[in-house]
Symmetry: C2
DNA sequence: TTGGCAATCTGTAACGTTTCAGTATACTGG
DNA sequence: CCAGTATACTGAAACGTTACAGATTGCCAA
């Protein structure tokens, strides 16, 4: 046997990052044994196992991600796919923080995969799947018939959606009950005597657009109020557009006396529009708005708010993906948050 | 030669992701040749090179990240290290988008590495460096004497800081000129006849705290105005705290008639506090505030704003890190943004 | 002719991990 | 005492890539 001295036969020297080989050398075992001992394989003697684990802890052994990934295909990465144009502000950081909270004491890393308006939303997902860059994926801006969900379901890659789909396919999701939100909002406004209501909708095409619109409509007929159509804007429009069109709306004869808004940023614009039209919030019109951080009441105390917790959403989505990766049933990884009740300014 | 048939000798079948071996088989070359042809090595014949690259493009070859990483140590990852408690809202998503914009057409992925208040800020950085999880790092909340920067400089890992240090060590950074910001703000207020000014500072301990305070002080004496001390808050305090203490401040005899605020969220609280004290913005007191999205003017049109572009910051930071990784001089990768001028509400 | 050299190309080893197919030892029941 | 088997361990191969150290060919100068 021609046994040449190779570069690393003088292992366990000191400065280099320890590997299984280092551990094997230190314990006098084979790398196979060390590998199995570290993952509590049953065919390793109890004492050996403890010994290996002790040494590993002592010298701060951390498995090399590239090694694991190359051998097993497991990336220990989950990817959050984000639209870099639409996603409104604070939203994103909260979700990210929620996700990181959950994966903090797992080996998982979070990578952010962006896509822009010009691209097909399927592109980034296809990239992730084709290159095997992640073990799990989180997507938002979910549509009733979502090609991304369908694609990942076909390829068998675990994912979770922020928002539900409606394709008769089962997969993990987290969503706010926007049907309930819109309903609560309408009932609250009706309780204050408002009966000509307008809705600032979510982006047309997303699933929760439908939920919101339905909740709004159903509650309207329940309380016997009427809708003032306001289809010219959604929360995806710019501040300027929303503001202008709200002002137009509020100058009409049959202007609404109550508005339900699906997002805080849009609400700022709506209020500006209302005031542009010379009307006063709380007197001429009441506005109920979702918000994700507690800013609207600083803005105008007359605003009526419903809180949505995006940090929670991030956590739930991460939990769902990890659960699926871990072998749980996708159907058991779905969660729906109730919105808070409608909150007027308190003291 | 005992040449056993191994699992993958029947390569190039179709469904599997193509590797160098696949390309080698298809072109009839060795994997070494293919590898070098793809990176335009000079010792490969021009025609061979073109041929390999053509085939590679045709079948959509993408180098396996784990393979490259294992072999070379290059991760093709850059990490953004974030504090999950302090970082204020929209801030974060803008930076992320800025970063992703720059790395979009590079092989780099962005991973978000969080740390919480309870932890030593050095922890996540140490983790990244020790596990070799990234080729480059971006940190924020930079301090004059920043242990993280020092640590990474020692280890020789490329990084960029959002904000400058003051340790006599040179490294890439991007920063807003907060000295200029505070100065402009003071001069603007003085121009409106305000001469008893207070400052809502950045978090004590961060480098730009000093810049801001100095810019404020120097401009004060330049214009002959006086400072009303307001050291009880910084923009790291909660909305409630800022609001309460502003109200207290504004009820005192020697209350300021002008306030400079270092962050939009704090400004909301400041305004609330002003109004709690029964005073009117624009009449009793003027407020100049930095903001990163165009919301403050919707909030109160009397506010005077200075814009800070965090998306640009993200791009600059990413460019800086990539530049350093690519071998440029760290000293050449520093950039300082001028703040916008002070903007009153326009029509 | 021959030695040298440039131009192209190639096999092998190595990065760190897990899995497959064992091997060595001790113990069991007949 | 032996076959059979459970227990505890091990070497080699493989994942996909790059670097090192050649190998082969053709050409030119001496």
């Amino acid at each position: 046997m021609d046994r040449r001295i190779t570069k690393k036969d003088d292992d366990a020297s000191g400065k280099e990052r320890p590997t299984l080989k280092t551990l094997a050398f230190m314990t006098g075992l084979g790398v196979t044994t060390v590998s199995r001992a570290l993952k509590d394989a049953p065919e390793i003697g109890a004492e050996t196992r403890r010994r290996v684990q002790l040494v590993a802890k002592q010298i701060g052994y951390r498995p090399n991600r590239a090694g694991v990934r190359l051998r097993t295909g497991k990336t220990n990465v989950i990817s959050l796919v984000l639209n870099t144009e639409h996603e409104l502000m604070s939203f994103v950081s909260d979700i990210i923080y929620g996700v990181t909270e959950v994966i903090a004491d797992t080996p998982y890393h979070l990578i952010v995969t962006p896509y822009s308006r010009s691209q097909d939303p399927l592109d980034p997902v296809r990239y992730l799947v084709e290159t095997g860059s992640a073990d799990g994926v989180i997507i938002s801006r979910t549509q009733p018939n979502d090609p991304r969900a369908r694609y990942m379901l076909e390829r068998g890659i675990p994912f979770a959606t922020h928002g539900r789909t409606d394709m008769g396919l089962v997969h993990p999701y987290h969503d706010l009950d926007n049907y309930a939100f819109a309903g609560e909002a309408v009932r609250y406004l009706a309780g204050r005597g408002r009966n000509r209501l307008a809705l600032v909708t979510p982006p047309v095409g997303l699933t929760y657009y439908g939920h919101t619109v339905n909740g709004f409509a159903d509650a309207l007929s329940e309380v016997g109020a009427s809708e003032v159509p306001f289809n010219t804007v959604s929360i995806d429009h710019t501040i300027e557009q929303i503001r202008m069109r709200t002002a137009q709306l509020m100058r009409r004869d049959n202007r609404p006396d109550g508005i339900v808004s699906s997002a805080a940023a849009a609400t700022l614009a709506v209020v500006a529009g209302i005031e542009d039209a010379g009307l006063k919030l709380g007197r001429d019109v009441d506005v109920v708005s979702k918000q994700s951080s507690d800013l609207l009441h600083l803005f105008r105390r007359e605003l009526l708010v419903v809180n949505e917790n995006f940090r929670l959403a991030g956590s739930e989505l991460a939990r769902a993906v990890l659960g699926w990766i871990g072998g749980k049933e996708p159907g058991s990884l779905q969660s729906l948050s109730k919105p808070s009740e409608v909150l007027p300014y308190r003291g």
